[in-house]
């Protein structure tokens, strides 16, 4: 297996340019962020922040500064409202499990949208084992949640609502404030969680203004290091811990704080929020250039999601008919362009993207979809390169398809 991968990598020798657009699934970490992290491995603050010695106190001081900064970026009232977790996956697990366990006497109903990421969807479904039930609210063809259906679904038994602020696959920006108002008007006790992993650093997001109770943040999605995320828990919301073995400074998550990763995440946040408008304008312009360029070169495409201002500035998701997505990701990779696909073949679940099916795409359209996310670090030249490679790749794959499967 490893031998095969070595051979696969060898096939990439001679690539003249590389453009990484799979920022949905992992990200490169820019040097300025790595540089900010490095001293915390062996120069300073490498101690346990709960212990009584200099490296421990240094760590304590460092992570408190990070709590402060992240809480400011997300619009928290105080730093106590932030808990660092090993990633957004753990934050979403915590949000759902901890909310359910804390309120099991009040009710058993969880409400999510049908396009939640799998680290919300599968966790909510898993809670069925503990007697909770999950209701999924449909979305329209652009991925916007049906607020009427949400309103109908809220009842006295509803303990938790979880709706992402921005959908991770098609970039749809949900009307979170309206959703919160609807939920709270019908049941003030219901906890409102939003996975803000795809909102944080890309659209204005203020937890206090939105009146959400819980919000998940991700580091790698703003080009910080992997392995770190955070959850915002509004003051006054009581959750039940899901993991024990408490030896750190955080009430909701055990284990020793990973200071270098927390510093890297905080640095990435600072960089995203310094010149926020310029950063997001740049992303939007690169994304539009990418999408327009692809549509100018190829026919038989479907643009997935909303096209207007209600779309995250980094997200491009296009279904390419008569081209299977896994084959396309490999062909693009051999040319130095890295993307992901909603095709069943390229996903570990062996099912096409549930998000694309939920917005009304047929399976074939989902199999031929590619997801690309630009970052503030991409350049016009990067996009030009992608545009020089992608149509050729599509045409080669379509050439193999020939008259098979043509509709």
């Amino acid at each position: 297996m490893v031998e095969n991968v070595k051979d696969l990598l060898k096939l990439h020798e001679g690539i003249t340019q590389e453009v990484y657009l799979d920022n949905e699934n992992s990200s490169f970490v820019p040097q300025e962020i790595v540089d900010a992290m490095l001293p915390y491995y062996n120069k300073k603050a490498y101690g346990n922040p709960t212990l009584t010695h200099k490296p421990g106190w240094e760590a304590f001081e460092t992570i408190m500064g990070c709590f402060q900064k992240i809480s400011r970026h997300i619009g928290a009232k105080n730093l106590e409202e932030i808990t660092f977790t090993p990633s957004e996956t753990e934050a979403n697990n915590l949000a759902i499990m901890a909310s359910c366990f804390a309120q099991k006497e009040k009710g058993k109903k969880i409400i999510i949208s049908e396009i939640e990421p799998i680290n919300v969807l599968q966790v909510a479904e898993m809670m069925g084992k503990f007697g909770f039930s999950t209701t999924k609210i449909p979305v329209d063809n652009e991925g916007f949640i049906n607020l009427e259906k949400l309103k109908e679904a809220i009842d006295n038994d509803t303990i938790l609502v979880s709706i992402s602020s921005v959908n991770n696959e098609v970039g749809t920006i949900q009307p979170i404030k309206e959703a919160v108002d609807i939920v709270k008007a019908k049941n003030l006790q219901t906890i409102f969680h939003t996975d803000a992993s795809d909102a944080y650093g890309r659209i204005p997001f203020n937890a206090q203004d939105l009146k959400v109770d819980l919000a998940t943040l991700s580091s790698f999605k703003i080009q910080g290091p992997r392995g770190i995320g955070a959850i915002y828990v509004r003051e006054g919301i009581s959750l039940e811990r899901i993991l024990e073995g408490q030896i750190g400074t955080q009430k909701l998550w055990p284990g020793v704080e990973n200071t270098p990763l927390i510093v890297g995440f905080t640095k990435a946040s600072e960089l995203a929020f310094t010149n926020f408008d310029a950063n997001t304008t740049k992303m939007r312009s690169l994304r539009d250039k990418l999408v327009d360029g692809i549509f100018a070169e190829l026919t038989d495409l479907r643009f997935n999601g909303s096209r207007g201002v209600k779309r995250s500035p980094d997200n491009a998701n296009i279904s390419i008919l008569r081209a299977e997505g896994e084959a396309l990701t490999i062909e693009l990779s051999l040319n130095g362009v890295y993307v992901s696909s909603g095709s069943a073949c390229s996903r570990r679940l062996l099912q096409p993207s549930h998000v694309l099916i939920a917005i009304g795409r047929i399976f074939e359209e989902a199999h031929g979809s590619i997801l690309m996310k630009v970052t503030r670090y991409h350049t016009e030249d990067d996009i030009n390169y992608v545009l020089s490679v992608l149509p050729k790749a599509v045409n080669r794959i379509r050439g193999i398809v020939g008259s098979t499967g043509v509709h």
Binding site: E324, S353, G360, T404
Partner: protein, 168 residues
Amino acid sequence: MSRIPLPYNPKVMDLFRNPKNLGKMEDATVVAIAGNPACGDMITFYLKISDEQVIEKAQFESYGCAANIATSSIVTEMIKGLTLEKAWNEITWKKVTEEIGGLPSVKFHCGVLAVGALKRAIRQYFTQKGMEFPSWLSKEHTFEEKQALEEEELAKTLSKRMKPEAEK
């Protein structure tokens, strides 16, 4: 979305990059299709078969992943020059997988579908000619043909739009 770092071997990659016997054949004796785009997996085989029932030429087109493309291509290589009887009896999905140097286990069905399409083509030859099936050809569908049928049955459900079509 999670991904598997599918460890395709060099032979699969070579056939994916430079597929052999690719393309439509205008003078094919039989054309057989298996699979469905809704399943992300579809193959067309074009076979030129002599009166002596020898496969003189085989070509393919495929909609699918790299493994689907590579297995279709290798089957066309393996059956060239074989009699229909030999092709029917000797080409199994296991042999195809072996010939291609192995496949990741989640891709075994690609080999099965390719052989299903081949068996369907051979069966079709006799039906088309109005000939009775020879004794070596089972009247019952083979495992590979059944798999293809199952996939196509599933596709009937999958290809329906769950919602009205979104704007382009």
